[in-house]
Amino acid sequence: MSERALFIDYARCIGCQACVQACEECDTHRGQPMIHLETIRRRDSVQTAPQVCMHCEDPICAQVCPADAIKKGPDGVVHSALTHRCIGCSNCVLACPFGVPKYFAAIDQMMKCDLCYDRTSIGKKPMCATVCPSQALTFMTPEELERTRRGTAVNEWVFGEERVRTKVSVVVPHEVKEVHVNLVQLGKRREKAEPDDVAALLEEG
């Protein structure tokens, strides 16, 4: 029996915000959820997707931290910023390819998902996976996942030329071996707004 891990099955997300609410309950960041519940193509669909920290094998957030505040534990969990070291520079916020770290101006600190380290380090599920009614967020062994889900779990990401391997996996159809994320060309304006570019859509009216 291998170790339990967190899996995200975007197709199962029903946008109920239970994970966001549960995350807020944590005493270390009460009232501030560390989960982003993204809305995909708001105009065409009600599909949502939860985004927790993916816990990269080579965490970019820690690589760019000038204050040496982000540390990775021996179990592969990338921890939230050490409060006495974090200088609130937002480097990690800009660098994270998943957009996970959040900067809180009121306390001048970055905070991010740490996989509910207080719970997962003693064998409990993270809070989001505990409450998710459709098990879009689920904490189980890969064998269990294979037995109960249709897709396969993938933890390889390609952002342009950058390859990222993560501790948290996403459930995708069998034929997908790695997730390619297309990059937006900066400074290049498209003639027609993309269907998921809400800002541009609002501009068009």
């Binding site: 080579d58 820690a62 690589q63 040496d68 540390k71 990775k72 021996p74």
Partner: protein
């Protein structure tokens, strides 16, 4: 770097990354050389601080205590076996000056080192007696010679200027 952490985008390990590792295990790892260095510097500091404390006690605080000089009386007025009470260095500290059978002048704090009763001079035995618990002290060096006290009486240093006696210092 033990496990390739810090290999950047280009795959090159940065030298500075070794000092600021991302992984806990690397961060908390203490090399034998660092440990030995901390031990050496720590004990050197301990020796240094001890030397400073000793120096302060030896040279800095001593003159301050010796500044207080109090007249005690006239040497000619104290017969052999006689004693004089005085206070030194402050009015709160009772002291006793005696002339021993051999004719030397000796002064001590009058406070018994056992439970702070006032000692009295016994000229025929050439010793001090604490009446509370029958503690005895020698007049020659103030050491306890009997009874419960275990610490010696603090010595008061007396200086003779002409016929005048002055208390000029105190042993702790």
């Amino acid at each position: 770097m033990a496990n390739g952490e810090g290999a950047g985008i280009k795959g090159r390990i940065q030298r500075w990354r070794e000092d600021f590792p991302i992984r806990w295990l690397d961060d908390h790892y203490i090399a034998r050389r660092e440990f030995a260095k901390a031990l050496t510097i720590g004990s050197a500091l301990l020796v240094g601080v001890n030397a400073v404390i000793a120096a302060v006690g030896r040279w800095v605080r001593r003159p301050g205590q010796m500044e207080a000089e109090v007249p005690v009386g006239k040497a000619s007025e104290i017969p052999t076996g006689g004693s004089v009470l005085f206070r030194y260095p402050t009015d709160e500290d009772p002291c006793i000056l005696v002339r021993t059978q051999s004719g030397d002048l000796r002064a001590y704090s009058q406070v018994c080192t056992h439970l702070s009763c006032a000692i009295v001079h016994q000229s025929e035995k050439d010793s001090f007696l604490c009446p509370c618990h029958r503690g005895h002290f020698s007049v020659n060096d103030g050491r306890p010679t009997g009874g419960p006290p275990v610490r010696r009486l603090p010595r008061i240093w007396i200086e003779q200027r002409g016929d005048e006696l002055w208390a000029v210092g105190k042993d702790s």
